[in-house]
């Protein structure tokens, strides 16, 4: 029996626990499938009707029981999104620890718990842990379409940790059409990356669409995106755009915390 995870859950312990849980689930599934195949073989090829039927029924029953247990273990996960939305982080962490501690025959609930934990750490501004957790998630699913949300988490944590190489590699791997929320996040990260590497023309590409997306973001994010666009406009001598965007930023937030978070923006507000 494994010891219960401590709270707050350290990212490396969560990763190790998830790996063990996935391995145990895979082994259990393999054993049960072997039982089903053996039962079928006994009934059809070996003519051991009674023994074969019992093996088959026992295997199917075990599969059903463990599936139900997995589903019960997974029930708490449904609440985690709402708990995170209402900033009840302690409760969310408790639910995630219980999920990772419990048995899961399939890997989906384990990976979902890891994903939520990565989101929780991002909300808590613990980007080093977010990076570890999202990199682990990509080990299991690296398909460009289905892993968009995880890649966005990884890219954001890499940018926050000033790891521009990882951020670049991750952002270029995101493909296909996502939801509006994903598109907004992707645009925000792309602009952040472009400004950090001084790619001013790329930052201003498709400007009306970027502004339309920025308007849908919460105040702080909207202000940060538009401040970066304003800086890019300033660098490209588009003073009309720089002035208009800066005015919007000043109407949305107090610029000082923004400058603290992104010192590169100081230049914009010194004008």
């Amino acid at each position: 029996m494994m010891a219960a995870l401590p709270i707050p859950i350290p990212a490396d312990r969560a990763v190790a626990r998830a790996r063990v849980a996935i391995l145990i689930g895979t082994l259990v599934r393999a054993v049960i499938l072997c039982g089903i195949v053996a039962g079928l073989a006994m009934v059809t090829a070996l003519k051991l009707d009674f023994a074969g039927t019992v093996t088959l029924l026992a295997s199917v029953t075990l599969w059903l029981m463990l599936t139900i247990r997995t589903a019960r273990n997974q029930q708490g996960l449904r609440r985690v999104g709402l708990l995170l939305e209402t900033r009840r982080y302690d409760e969310a962490e408790q639910v995630l620890a219980e999920t990772l501690d419990g048995f899961s025959m399939f890997r989906a609930p384990v990976l979902q718990a890891l994903h939520h934990l990565a989101g929780l750490r991002r909300a808590q501004q613990k980007f080093d842990q977010t990076r570890v957790l999202s990199a682990e998630l990509l080990r299991y699913d690296s398909r460009p379409q289905s892993s968009r949300a995880v890649r966005l988490l990884l890219a954001e944590s890499a940018l926050e940790l000033d790891d521009l190489h990882t951020a670049h590699a991750t952002l270029t791997q995101i493909a296909g059409e996502g939801t509006l929320r994903e598109t907004m996040k992707l645009t925000e990260l792309q602009i952040d990356y472009c400004v950090r590497v001084g790619a001013w023309p790329q930052a201003l590409e498709n400007l009306p669409w970027k502004i339309e997306l920025a308007e849908l973001l919460p105040a702080e994010s909207a202000a940060q995106v538009q401040a970066m666009l304003a800086l890019a406009a300033l660098k490209l001598q588009r003073h009309d755009w720089a002035q208009w965007l800066r005015r919007r930023v000043e109407l949305l937030v107090d610029p000082n915390p923004l400058i603290e978070r992104r010192p590169i923006l100081r230049e914009l507000f010194l004008q």
Binding site: T53, L57, G76, R79, L82, E85, T86, R87, R88, D90, E91, Q94, T179, L180, L207, P208, I211, E212, E215, L216, L217, P218, A219, A222, R238, D240, W241, W244, R247, R248, L251, L252, V253
Partner: protein, 354 residues
């Protein structure tokens, strides 16, 4: 400065009647009650899985216990048919649920992007048939109410909001949004007495700790508190907080609080309490901009109306310029008829040319 003095003003000449420049196309939904009723999930498929599983178990038991070879072969065939049909049923139901959830996300995105003409028919079509899940239906109804409000069908929107609040008793963060939407629709539809009651209800919600606390209370009532760790129960405020609520709100509650302030501001403008409107804006300016994001433009526009009525043209011009710097002017004019007279008096802040 008058708009006529502005060479870059996109506005019509002063002689023409002021009005919205880009009204969204009207998509009549008919009677919203029809959509509310037609979208209720049916119970047709609810018991299908149970029936198939029970039949499967019965057939397997009969097959195991049976002695007649011919009957056993028949039962074996029936067991296979039931197994396959069970899988097909489960797969098709799951696929339908996924498709419905994806459609809801797409419609939500279209409404967020103000593509009302595209969102309307898709939402109408979705609600015309029984929906797969209760949660999906509530989300679709909230989208319908939002869409109807944006398209200025306030009385229809109120029918949907009332269904969500009075019949479905939606709570938590979603419930707060619904209550805010209803309060705003009541003001737009000139039901001032009901709007005042709705505002007081929202105030009580905030005083009790906001949407998060309401959600927690609902969980306790549903018996979920047993699953929570010891000590967390004490986090639920039983009495109103002593701190000023504007300083404690964060996340979803910051949005609720800002929404409440916006509704109060609109009520004050609507009822001619200009001094109260101006004071409310200045007292809660940080709350408004933190919780509303770009929609804080609406607060600037409403306070511009208040300044204008109080005969403070310089302040009104500045507030109107701020509002139009944050949101396109047609949008503000469509949303608040009270703002329309201002376009003949004050200059907007147009976006620079590309």
């Amino acid at each position: 400065m008058s708009v006529d003095e502005s060479p870059t003003s996109p506005l019509p000449p002063a002689s023409s009647a002021p009005g919205p420049a880009e009204l969204p196309p009207i998509q009549p939904f008919g009677d919203p009650m029809l959509l509310i009723e037609s979208s209720r999930p049916t119970t047709t498929f609810r018991y299908a899985g149970t029936v198939v599983t029970a039949s499967w178990v019965a057939v397997i038991v009969a097959w195991v216990l049976g002695t007649n070879v011919g009957v056993q072969i028949g039962l074996q065939a029936v067991a296979w048919i039931l197994t396959i049909s069970g899988w097909v049923l489960a797969w098709s139901l799951n696929a339908a649920r996924r498709a419905e959830a994806a459609e809801l996300v797409a419609i939500e995105d279209l409404i967020a992007l103000k593509r009302y003409d595209q969102a309307g028919p898709r939402l109408h079509w979705l609600l015309l048939r029984p929906m797969r899940t209760h949660e999906g239906r509530l989300r679709a109804l909230l989208l319908l109410a939002t869409l109807l409000s944006r398209m200025m069908h306030y009385d229809d929107a109120l029918v949907v909001y009332n269904e969500l609040i009075d019949t479905e008793r939606v709570g938590g963060p979603g419930g707060a949004m619904v209550k805010l939407g209803r309060a705003m629709a009541l003001l737009h539809a000139d039901h001032l007495y009901d709007a005042d009651r709705a505002i007081n209800e929202l105030r009580r919600l905030i005083d009790r700790g906001g949407a998060g606390a309401e959600l927690r209370q609902m969980e306790i009532e549903a018996g979920l508190e047993e699953e929570l760790p010891d000590g967390l129960d004490s986090e639920l405020p039983t009495e109103p907080s002593l701190q000023p609520i504007d300083t404690v709100a964060s996340g979803i509650d910051a949005m609720t609080l800002a929404g409440l302030r916006l509704v109060e501001l609109y009520r004050d403008v609507k009822t001619g309490h200009t001094a109260e409107a101006m004071e409310l804006f200045h007292t809660h300016r940080d709350t408004l901009r933190r919780g509303l994001g770009h929609r804080v433009a609406e607060a600037h526009a409403l306070v511009a109306v208040a300044y204008d009525r109080a005969n403070r043209p310089a302040d009104a011009a500045r507030a109107f310029a701020d509002a139009t710097a944050l949101q396109p002017m047609p949008e503000l004019l469509n949303r608040y008829v009270e703002v329309r007279p201002l376009i003949a008096k004050y200059a907007p802040t147009p976006a620079p040319a590309l």
